[in-house]
């Protein structure tokens, strides 16, 4: 177990180093003057020189990488060029929207996907199964921004149960959760559809295994055999998908955050790109990469919890 953990942690660290080098190279080293890119065509030579000095572009690539990485490690992400506030502050503010939104959406998606995936597997080949499979097919096919607009039209415009967008802050947790509900539903629907299908096929595969027959021969009913033996074995592929989905939800909510005017990380990076604020883009990208790699690491740990055969590696 210790060895498995160490290897996973090692791979986590290596991935981070590689990712940081790639991001740094893409944004800073590749030909073209970042300062000229940020200030546009009408910049004067003095302004450009001032910005270059501010960005520390005068040093060698290695020096700048070391400065950037040390900054990231100590929580100093630089000062945003457009907002004129530390990037760390910006990110922290936005994280308080994006992270709860991702967790909310993932919880919803899991809560929907598990029961219907299990139900579809348990009723394989019946009308229920076909119904669920058809519905999930539809759930995957519908673009989430379009679904989000339908939600707004129905629940915000017609029924007036929710507001159409914006975020009131966490001072009033109930209001904050309410504001995140429609976006979370819009994000969760396609995720739940995918997850339910994975759950169904993973469960069907384990239900064909010999140990399910053994369990039935011991006197377990079909439902007991699924609950006590099949589910945990079916969890490995499901965990993989949950991990991928969480990473996607943290980074990939850009469109939904824009539809609902949520001040999240997705919007921040979107604005950073349109305003050519490379400092923000660079730091937020690195942060998102860190989140994705961390989630992968956590999923690896979850594998070991679920499957004793991994613990000995």
């Amino acid at each position: 177990m210790a060895r498995y953990l160490l290897l996973r942690a090692l791979s986590l660290g290596l991935s981070l180093v590689v990712a940081s080098v790639v991001i740094f190279a893409l944004i800073e080293v590749i030909p073209g003057d970042p300062a000229a890119f940020m200030m546009g065509l009408n910049a004067t030579e003095e302004n450009l020189a001032a910005l270059r000095a501010e960005l520390g572009l005068d040093g060698s690539a290695l020096d700048r990488y070391v400065v950037w990485i040390t900054g990231m490690l100590t929580g100093d992400f630089g000062i945003s060029y457009t907002y004129r506030v530390p990037v760390a502050e910006l990110v922290l503010d936005r994280l308080w929207v994006s992270l709860p939104l991702a967790v909310y959406a993932l919880t919803l998606s899991t809560l929907i996907a598990f029961p219907i995936g299990i139900l579809a597997a348990a009723t394989r080949g019946t009308a229920t199964d076909y119904g669920i499979m058809g519905a999930t097919q539809l759930g995957i096919a519908i673009p989430n921004f379009w679904f989000a607009m339908l939600l707004v039209l129905l629940f915000a415009v017609t029924l007036r149960w929710f507001s159409a967008g914006g975020f009131p802050g966490w001072d009033n947790p109930a209001a904050a959760l309410k504001a995140l509900t429609l976006p979370a539903v819009a994000l969760a629907l396609p995720q739940a559809s995918i997850l339910a299908r994975v759950m169904r096929s993973a469960l069907l595969e384990t239900l064909d295994q010999d140990y399910i027959r053994t369990a039935r021969a011991k006197g377990l009913s079909r439902a007991q055999a699924i609950r006590r033996h099949a589910l945990r074995n079916a969890l490995i592929p499901v965990l993989t998908i949950i991990g991928l989905q969480f990473s996607f939800l943290i980074a990939g909510a850009i469109i939904i955050e824009n539809v609902f005017f949520l001040p999240g990380l997705g919007r921040l990076i979107f604005q950073g790109i349109t305003q050519r604020d490379l400092i923000v883009v660079e730091s937020v990208t690195m942060l998102l990469v860190f989140a994705v790699i961390l989630v992968t690491f956590l999923v690896d740990l979850a594998y070991a919890l679920v499957d004793p055969r991994l613990r000995r590696r």
């Binding site: 210790a2 060895r3 160490l6 295994q209 010999d210 140990y211 027959r213 053994t214 369990a215 039935r216 021969a217 011991k218 006197g219 377990l220 009913s221 007991q224 006590r228 033996h229 945990r232 074995n233 679920v306 499957d307 004793p308 055969r309 000995r312 590696r313």
Partner: protein, 525 residues
């Protein structure tokens, strides 16, 4: 008292069982014998109420007057595991890999509400002790146990509630002879101790010959002969019983071989594996093969026997040039294959494994499967030539050239093994390595494959290295035999001599463990 009364079964309209009638009295061991597809497993599943979807039954399956076929599912759940229990063929996959063995044995008790928590674990411990696993902790996982140990765990879970009937479906088919003998002994003892009945389902008459009180022989969903074991074995009234009996100890006719001419020479070969991981280090290396030497001659059939883990598969991989050796030399057709086998030699030595299905790409047609080893030849035939060679190989194994266009799933187990042999023959090799090649087959199918192997040996002058844990088969097809134990060859000699007068205690032990049909030639006279 368990009885089947004119039980008929069809699945989606296809008849599977026809008017099966049998009676099992308390404390009796009943053997149900037949080849795969004969309906013997379906008979057991009918008793358990675990028939697949689309099954329709007529007749009755009675347990002390209760007709099991009319019971509701919840009633059946109460019965399963408590009155009727069952163990299956594949101990490797019959246990849940993510649950400890203690939990899996205790589950039988908890699910029936007979014990809870610590008490259930105490009883589980007791039952595991009873099946000979007193040295194995409750918190072990199945992957940490051997095949024989896992089958014992299955037995412990099955007998946890002292059922009246235990059904054992091919309980030892996947195990080697020594383990098989131990498991069969355990089952016999349990029957005597618990006073339960035992229904043993097997394709091999020899397995039940000296343990069953009664035998029923099943063929195409019908019981063709039944009665006390001694009577059935002696009379063999039905032709199918006679065929099964003959198949069980079938020895093909083989032509005598010519003068010795060594094709393969193995000289004091050593094979080591890195030791098991202990935290961040490795333990001492495992010596799987410790200085083995032998020669295989032209046209000879050489047997290599030993139980699982004795190193015979490791040795085989080294001979095939798949793994490097750590000492000694292997010479093939006079040339050393250490450290690397020269590519031009590969075509001359081919292999057939136990499970041909696993070695076939399911999306390839037979033509492509059989022609695959052609990549070993520098001047591989192309186009029509290639098809002709594949057709020739298929004809040699008594399949039709028309089978070229089919996929592997369209064939039976025996036919698949024929395809695997055709694939091995396609490069016209001089040596065939048969690694447990007939171990997964029914006795009757096995007999036909053995005939085929003898015929091919005559026709092509092949040499066989026949690796098996099944002594009956080795005796039937080999001229010489090597007995391997813990990485060493402990005895070798002409097959008949070794089997008639084994010199090494391990050989004697193996022979004693092998199930045998009584010699009935005198009884008939």
């Amino acid at each position: 008292m368990i009885s089947l009364d004119r039980l008929s079964l069809s699945i989606h309209g296809t008849p599977i069982l026809r008017a099966v009638t049998l009676k099992i009295t308390p404390g009796e061991i009943f053997g149900l014998v037949g080849e795969s597809g004969s309906g013997k497993s379906m008979t057991a599943l009918a008793l358990m109420g675990l028939l697949p979807r689309g099954a329709e039954t007529t007749g009755a399956a009675r347990l002390d007057g209760t007709d099991l076929l009319t019971l509701s599912e919840p009633d059946l759940c109460r019965l399963r595991g408590s009155d009727i229990a069952m163990i299956f063929q594949e101990p490797m996959t019959a246990l849940n890999p993510v649950q400890t063995i203690g939990d899996q044995v205790a589950e039988t008790l908890t699910i029936h509400g007979k014990a809870k928590g610590a008490q259930a674990r105490r009883i589980a411990r007791d039952r595991l002790d009873r099946v000979g696993l007193s040295h194995v902790a409750l918190d072990r996982y199945p992957h940490e146990l051997s095949g024989g140990q896992r089958q014992r765990v299955c037995i412990a879970a099955a007998i946890a509630l002292h059922p009246r009937l235990l059904i054992a479906d091919e309980p030892t088919t996947a195990l080697d002879v020594t383990t098989q003998a131990q498991i069969l002994d355990l089952l016999k003892d349990l029957v005597a101790e618990e006073g339960m009945s035992l229904l043993v389902i097997t394709h091999d008459l020899a397995v039940v010959a000296d343990m069953a009180d009664c035998i029923a022989v099943m063929n195409r969903g019908e019981i063709v002969e039944t009665g006390p074991t001694a009577q059935v074995l002696a009379e063999r009234r039905h032709p199918y019983t006679r065929a099964l009996f003959a198949a069980s100890s079938h020895a093909p006719d083989r032509a005598p071989q010519g003068a010795p001419e060594p094709l393969l020479a193995v000289e004091s070969v050593h094979r080591h594996y890195p030791g098991p991981r202990q935290g961040f280090r490795r333990g001492p290396p495992v010596e799987a093969v410790k200085g083995v030497s032998f020669e295989l001659h032209k046209g000879e059939s050489l047997g290599l026997v030993g139980e699982s883990g004795c190193g015979k598969s490791t040795l085989t991989r080294a001979i095939l040039g798949l793994d490097p050796v750590q000492g000694g030399d292997i010479r093939l057709f006079g040339r050393s294959i250490v450290p690397v086998m020269p590519p031009e030699l590969r075509a001359g030595i081919q292999v057939v494994f136990q499970d041909p299905y696993g070695s076939f790409n399911p999306r390839w047609r037979v033509e492509r499967l059989v022609a695959e080893p052609f990549h070993l030849l520098t001047d591989a035939p192309k186009g029509e030539d290639r098809r002709a060679r594949v057709a020739e190989a298929l004809r040699a194994v008594h399949l039709s050239p028309d089978d070229m266009a089919k996929y592997p799933h369209e064939f039976s187990g025996g036919q698949r093994q024929r395809i695997a042999i055709a694939r091995a023959l396609i490069t016209r090799p001089r040596i065939l390595v048969l690694d447990e090649a007939v171990s997964a087959l029914d006795v009757s199918v096995r007999a036909r494959i053995l005939d085929l192997l003898a015929e091919l040996q005559d026709a092509f002058g092949l040499s066989y290295l026949f690796i098996s844990h099944d002594l009956t088969v080795v005796r039937a097809i080999t001229d010489r035999v090597l007995v391997m134990q813990s990485g060493e060859i402990v005895e070798e000699g002409p097959t008949e001599a070794v089997f008639d007068a084994p010199a090494h205690p391990y050989t004697r032990q193996l022979l004693a463990a092998a199930p045998r049909l009584p010699d009935l030639t005198e009884a008939q006279a």
